[in-house]
């Protein structure tokens, strides 16, 4: 399910399936997208931040178009205990690889991978990012 901001409209609550994972997309070329994500985060239930949220930063290929300070994004990841992934949407290879990665994460968050919980996976991801 794709949306431009949170909260989701309440009218369709009863028709909506369970949400297993939330990916917040930040376009490094648009300050507005960071502001939007920051505002939307406050509508997310705290339980999601136990491994069911991640930040996806796009537009990183073009350093010269950068309007967002990377430190602000790292701080966001730290503050919400969620991993930060990078993707260049225009490159098919990267796009496909990122989609596969997200799909794998979703499987874990939905509980379809026996022996791996969303929380343990999230911790694993954060530790490897720090290295």
């Amino acid at each position: 399910h794709l949306t431009t901001s949170l909260p989701l409209p309440s009218e369709r609550d009863h028709l909506r399936p369970r949400i297993d994972m939330i990916v917040f997309m930040i376009d490094i070329k648009s300050k507005c997208s960071l502001k939007n994500v920051e505002a939307s985060l406050s509508y997310v239930d705290a339980s999601f931040f136990l491994g069911k949220v991640c930040f996806l930063v796009t537009g990183v290929g073009r350093v010269n178009y950068c309007s967002v300070d990377m430190n602000a994004i790292w701080k966001l990841g730290e503050a919400y205990c969620s991993p930060v992934l990078f993707c260049e949407l225009e490159l098919e290879g990267v796009r496909v690889a990122t989609a596969q990665r997200l799909l794998r994460m979703l499987q874990i968050c939905a509980g379809h991978v026996p022996g791996v919980s969303a929380l343990s996976f999230g911790t694993l991801m954060r530790r490897s990012a720090d290295d």
Partner: protein, 292 residues
Amino acid sequence: LPPQHNADPQKTAFLLRKQWTLYSVTPLYGFSNADLKHYARLLSAFTAAEKQKGLAVEVGVELDIKVTVSNVPDLKGSDRDQDAILVQLSLRSSASQKNSEDKLVWLGCFCCVFGDHLSENLPEDFTCLPLFLANGAEGYTSIVGSWFQKTFDCCFRRLAISPLNLSWMAAMWTGCQVDKTTSAMELVFSAPCLPYPLDISYAIHPEDAKALWDTVQKTPGEITQEEVDIFMDCLYSHFHRHFKIHLSATRLMKVSTAIASAHCDGIIKFLQSKYLAGVLMLLTELAISQIQ
């Protein structure tokens, strides 16, 4: 911004009020300040040869280009910086008019203003002049660039200025003291629209901009990313209140203030000699990060 000190502003006045295209240059190998006249002769021969290539022979037209290479000791940050090097190309007047002056057609300047973090770890044979400014026809820039690249094994790259860096410049330059009433601060944005991108120009009265910056900046002489963000956000929300357009979703392309104007494609214009060193210091830093 540190105002320029100990330097003769007359010597650096040639930088003012001209449009300069910026490049980052990797350290020059085997360059010597003592051989400048020799370099001028070599470059002159090279330029003449390049100009001959592909030129249809025109009867009676002689393209005689005079090359001067000089150093500008007043153009540097600290004593640890190398002297700036100025390259000038002039069209020699034809032999019959002995009294007329040569016409200056192209200027190029290599400089380094407070470039310690690049120069401190370099071996002896390298000269650190990471910032190159060019004024004049692109054809000449290309010829001079090629000669330097071949002779000193260095690499020129257009210096791009990101929207993030442009907002720093907007905040920094707004805070500078300017004596007389000055031109408005102008920000130009590119908004992605179909079928053609839209250019939005936002002009702000310089006193209003300075008043805003003064409320944001906590420590004089120090600027943080947070302060720059707050400053820009205030400008964006003001614009949104009036026009219902989110400038934060667009790309900042150009910043013009009374101090200087900068374009994201790496084009700069210096307007105040008092802050020349400060702006050059910032550009040197950008050039160094592009090299590394």
